[in-house]
């Protein structure tokens, strides 16, 4: 790349001179891996710039997690205190809320693709001499970063729900949040490739996200469920993000063995306890599959 980047560039001062002047031409080198990386980076960066401009979005996407954590968590704690063996209900729902915080922001990131199409900007990206896969990847990484930022805000509240600020806890939880954010963005981008109307996109996402959240075990322990609910819970991808986060959080709590067994039973497949690493792998693989589908769809589009 460096070899071809030899355009005779006119000094900017000369451009101030009066009268017509020759514009210096730049020579655009042929496509290399470097130019794809630049494309990924700039799409990612755009996501960050737009997010930082949109303060309202930062606030509104925190609304729902806060409602669940402080209103539902506080309000139901009296009812639930008998079953939680002394553990605060807010502490119990906290892992689910950590996931929720990134989910909604990631979804909004993907939704912006629908706006981009409507306002024409998508065209500017689609006609660029770069691979569509670079654009999609940049978008998904951008969505994941922005959502990760929301996740950190909720992570900062750990102290309010009796969860210690242990460095290992913060790092591990954040890693899973990023992974989840990437997967959700990839899912949203995959849908956005097909759906061209904002209303339909939002309705579709709500239709998927709410059941996903409720079935995931964010609000209840995943052991001893009725068969149908257990089945749905195991199918739900979010289950495999909530469970490892809960395991990490609970490993830093000083609680009774009974409470631990009741509240953090761990997800099982036919009686086998799935290790956290495998759970994270489930989320990652799903994300990669959806990323792949999104890339194929965007590459086909004219």
């Amino acid at each position: 790349m460096a070899g071809t980047a030899s355009a005779p560039v006119q000094a900017p001062e000369a451009a101030n001179g009066s009268g017509p002047h020759q514009l210096a031409a730049v020579r655009v080198p042929t496509r290399t891996r470097g130019s794809e990386v630049r494309a990924i980076k700039v799409v990612w960066k755009r996501e960050l710039i737009r997010f930082s401009r949109d303060r309202l979005r930062i606030l509104t996407s925190l609304m729902q997690p806060f409602l669940f954590l402080f209103v539902l968590g506080t309000g139901l704690s009296k009812l639930a205190s008998a079953g939680t063996h002394g553990v605060n209900l807010k502490t119990f729902v906290y892992p689910g809320v950590l996931c929720m915080a990134v989910m909604f922001t990631a979804m909004f990131s993907a939704a912006s693709l629908v706006w981009d199409r409507e306002f024409g900007f998508l065209r500017e990206m689609m006609v660029a001499p770069v691979r569509r896969s670079s654009l999609v990847l940049g978008k998904c990484l951008g969505g994941a970063t922005v959502a990760g930022f929301q996740g950190v805000i909720v992570l900062c509240l750990a102290g309010l729900v009796n969860v210690p600020y242990a460095p290992s806890l913060i790092i591990e939880v954040f890693a899973i949040q990023l992974l989840l954010a990437f997967t959700i963005t990839a899912f949203g981008v995959m849908i956005a490739a097909r759906v061209s109307q904002m209303q339909s996109f939002m309705a579709l996402m709500q239709m998927v996200m709410m059941p996903m959240f409720f079935l995931s075990g964010a609000l209840f322990p995943v052991a001893g469920l009725p068969r149908w609910l257990e089945l749905l819970n195991r199918i739900d991808p979010l289950t495999y993000a909530v469970d490892p986060i809960r395991r990490i959080v609970f490993s830093h709590l000083d609680i009774s063995a009974v409470a631990r067994a009741t509240l953090d039973p761990g997800v099982t497949w036919w009686g086998w306890h799935i290790p956290s690493v495998l759970e994270a792998a489930v989320v990652a693989v799903l994300g990669l599959i959806m990323l792949g589908i999104a890339i194929v769809q965007f590459s086909r589009a004219e």
């Binding site: 560039v9 730049v26 980076k41 700039v42 006609v127």
Partner: protein, 343 residues
Amino acid sequence: MSAATSANGATATVAPEPSDSAAVVVRGLEKHYGEIEAVRGIDFDVEQGEIFGFLGPNGAGKSTTISMLCTLVRPTGGSALVAGHDVVSERDEVRRSIGLVFQDTTLDGYLTAEQNLRLHAELYGVPREAVGPRMRQVMEMVGLWDRRGSLVNTFSGGMKRRLEIARGLLHSPRVLFLDEPTVGLDPQTRSSIWSYIRELKSREDITIFLTTHYMDEAEYCDRIAIMDQGRIIVLDTPEALKASVGKDRVQIATDDDAAAIAALQSNFGIDATVAEGMVTFGVPEGEHFVPRLFAELGQPIRSVNVARPSLDDVFMSYTGTTIRDAESGATDQRRKTARLMGR
């Protein structure tokens, strides 16, 4: 006006290239969407350094053609080379060599003008050290350098279009495609856009390919192709096209229009009508006809007006309709007009 002449004068300074390296080469290009034939096999070349205009009513196939040349739409037949690259098999090479300004804005309104341009530079792989100076040049050219830090959402329609032109030039394309660059803009902004386009030609080694349905703007092109119903009807310089119409339009004001029309018929064999409140007719070389008219008409003439054929007349003579009527899409209207005009 002087800008136009200097722009024309610069044609000769375009770097000498082998004659076979036309900027755009189109052979038998076709596009149909199911039953609908949007473009029905067109052939033309655009020379390097030319301002080439595609003129025609909406729905004539101009935008489809431009989309095919920009690799956005796959042709269903024929071939096209842009800057020496095939639009189907060498899509990326074509994309790197062209700049695009669409009818609808493709800017990100939530970014600043500068951020929009930087994003473009990154996507097109403009060498990093060249981005800053080049960006300044293109933004100064369109008079937006001072507004570089403003959000694009705060820009007027004309400013957005200017910014898009600047962005389209950022990576020094060989061919700049402008699809209806002035549609929806007020007359003042339209003329400023045109002064940038003409200035461009004198400054950069660039070929400009544009579509328009404004007749007055087509005059600025070096050559124009008139397109109607998916076909190119005629392709030539505006002057040659106007000359091909052959007749100037003469209008006279008289005290007795009916008598004047009768006298024109009997003395010169000319059919005249009343248009715009004046007796109107077409003759070859109108200015030579006027002295004869005064000498031989036998009716008092209060004033006379001789006009060269406009591109409106050209369009009318080749398609049998005015471009405005063609846009209304009323075929019966078209036939009626054609009959009235006796063409």
